[in-house]
């Protein structure tokens, strides 16, 4: 039992790519646009939870080792350079005021930044390049290929550079030995090998794709994705929630201003409801995963 808990499979990833993409499009877009503190909080909490659910220990390390310090630094940076706002707390030594509003805005902007980064780390895990190509390969073949290559660019180069530096280490030309001049020379050699490989690889990929007739009319592609009933249900659910949130956003329900004074909409029942809807949209994959997990456990217990 305990083993299956540790290495569970993300059920949301097994849904149809269209469902996955729609979900991330909504969530990423809303996270970037809504500056309301409640929305930001919901988005950050959901992103953190989902990323930990997806990647486990690695995500905890990344979230608290990198995102949390970055959040704090960004939050501090804003009041150091921005002095707008009605509520003056103290004066800096150079004469500019430190205002409450700039501190609050700094925290909000930092929250947004880390939430979006966290969402993208989830996106990369769920929306693999084959899913992306499957969705957009027909509509925009060239662009989708480029996009999927670009999105894979950094992890792929990282892997390749590791390979090269291991190979160089075997013949004693790694960054770990020699004087600093020698180290720099070795580093440049590794980089030059890397660039050569990248250029060659790009041409090879392009020719290979071309020889297999990528993008030609009438060419079919094998895919294992099926749009069945649960996908339809999930798509409907995400679509309705997303459109509701979008409408709320257009009607300025999530309006919040930081300068010159902090001001938002009054918290009536309707506004509380709209936050609840936003929350419901953000936790869709977590709900699906938890539900699937419980079902899996239940069947195991019964058997």
């Amino acid at each position: 039992m305990s083993k299956s808990k540790e290495c569970h499979v993300d059920a949301f990833s097994s849904y149809h790519p269209l469902v996955n993409f729609l979900y991330f499009a909504f969530v990423l877009g809303f996270s970037m646009v809504f500056m309301h503190p409640v929305c930001l909080g919901i988005s950050l909490v959901a992103a953190f939870t989902y990323s930990i659910y997806l990647k486990g220990k690695k995500a905890i390390l990344f979230n608290f080792g990198f995102l949390a310090p970055m959040l704090i630094v960004t939050a501090i940076l804003n009041p150091a350079f921005n002095h707008e706002g009605q509520t003056i707390l103290i004066y800096f030594s150079n004469g500019n005021p430190l205002t409450l509003e700039s501190i609050l805005y700094g925290i909000a902007a930092a929250t947004m930044l880390s939430a979006v980064i966290c969402w993208f780390s989830c996106y990369n895990e769920v929306m693999t390049s084959d899913k992306f190509i499957y969705l957009f390969g027909r509509v925009i073949p060239a662009l989708s290929l480029i996009l999927s290559m670009v999105l894979r660019f950094v992890p792929r180069f990282k892997a390749q550079i590791k390979k090269i530096s291991y190979a160089q280490k075997c013949i004693g030309r790694d960054l770990s030995n020699g004087s600093w001049i020698q180290k720099a020379k070795n580093g440049i050699t590794i980089l030059s090998i890397m660039i050569t490989w990248a250029l060659e690889n790009a041409i090879e990929t392009a020719e290979s794709m071309k020889s297999r007739g990528y993008g030609l009319p009438g060419r079919t592609a094998f895919s294992i994705y099926r749009f069945d009933r649960r996908d339809k249900k999930a798509l409907l659910y995400i679509g309705i929630l997303g459109i509701f949130v979008l409408a709320c956003g257009l009607m300025k329900v999530y309006y919040f201003r930081y300068y010159p004074t902090v001001k938002g909409n009054p918290s009536t029942i309707f506004f509380l409801f709209s936050y609840a809807v936003y929350f419901a949209l953000c936790i869709v994959p977590i709900v699906i995963d938890v539900k699937e997990n419980r079902q899996w456990k239940a069947t195991q217990l019964n058997s």
């Binding site: 707008e84 009605q86 003056i88 005021p97």
Partner: protein, 297 residues
């Protein structure tokens, strides 16, 4: 062996760089001195023409302090060449500014500038060449009879308290409410007056910026500024949370002293007794508040 070679190469390059900069810098200073000589005569002919009553009275007030200062400075630095140079230079600068002062204050400035002699030697060459055009802080020629900028780092703030009037108004926004950022509408007072004309004390040598900073702090009015080294002055970005560009793309804060809009920054304008300082918000690059700077061009 290879490593040694690199080391020696590096040391050699650094040495060559040092030698080159030493000689180049030395030449530069000499050139500045040579330029300063003809300016001497100009100073003599124009001396005493532009004295105003105000300046005279200021000098009388501060004369006691000045005499003390001059005796100190002349004792300590008489023999040094640097002192001679900087004195000559201070005089040339004054002649460039066409500002005449009594003997006491002249020596006083000489002292203050000997403290930063080197800085000036390098800048002086530029100063002399660009006479009639822009000065080293990109300021156009100052109109006849108007006070010349005094750099904040050279200003000496004494303990002589004087009074002047300061006010902050933004009534131009009332005529351009449509352009105003909707979030800022509530900030604009009904009559457009943020700080009504108030008599305040200042200390001789203070700039308009010093005064604004103190008065906004005292009256709990928000104010944000930014130092712009290229103009050697502070730039006022916003007062009372009304910022530049908040009311159209040509809007921002300007200041006028005795109904003249100085063509240089507020840190360089030294206040005189009974000056009337007004900070105004313009929505049209100064044209709507009576500044004709862009009309002349």
């Amino acid at each position: 062996m290879k490593r040694m070679n690199y080391k020696w190469l590096g040391i050699g390059i650094i040495c060559i760089l040092l030698v080159v900069t030493f000689f180049w810098g030395g030449d530069y200073a000499k050139g500045g001195k040579a330029d300063s000589e003809p300016a001497y005569s100009v100073e003599e002919t124009e001396n005493g023409e532009n004295i105003t009553d105000l300046e005279k009275s200021e000098d009388e007030n501060s004369s006691v302090e000045d005499i003390e200062k001059t005796s100190q400075s002349s004792d300590s630095k008489k023999d040094e060449k640097v002192n001679n140079q900087s004195e000559a230079q201070s005089e040339t600068e004054k002649s460039g500014l066409k500002k005449a002062e009594s003997e006491e204050s002249e020596t006083k400035q000489g002292k203050s500038e000997s403290d930063q002699g080197d800085k000036h030697l390098s800048l002086q060459g530029i100063d002399e060449e660009s006479k009639g055009e822009k000065d080293k802080y990109l300021t156009d020629p100052i109109p006849e009879g108007k006070p010349h900028p005094i750099e904040p780092q050279e200003a000496i703030i004494t303990k002589n308290a004087k009074t002047c009037t300061i006010s902050i108004v933004c009534d131009t926004i009332l005529d351009n409410m449509d352009d105003l950022d909707p979030e800022k509408v509530e900030l604009v007072p009904k009559d457009g007056v943020i700080l009504p004309p108030t008599k305040v004390t200042f200390y001789e040598g203070e700039s308009v910026f010093n005064l604004l900073r103190r008065e906004t702090k005292k009256n709990k009015i928000h104010m944000e500024f930014e130092n712009t080294p290229i103009y050697n002055s502070a730039y006022i970005e916003g007062i009372h949370n009304l910022y530049e560009f908040d009311c159209g793309e040509l809007s921002g804060w300007m200041y006028k002293v005795n109904d003249w809009f100085p063509n240089y920054g507020c840190s360089r304008y030294q206040i005189k007794d009974k000056d009337v300082i007004v900070w105004v918000y313009t929505c049209d690059l100064g044209r709507d508040v009576g500044d004709g700077f862009y009309e002349q061009k």
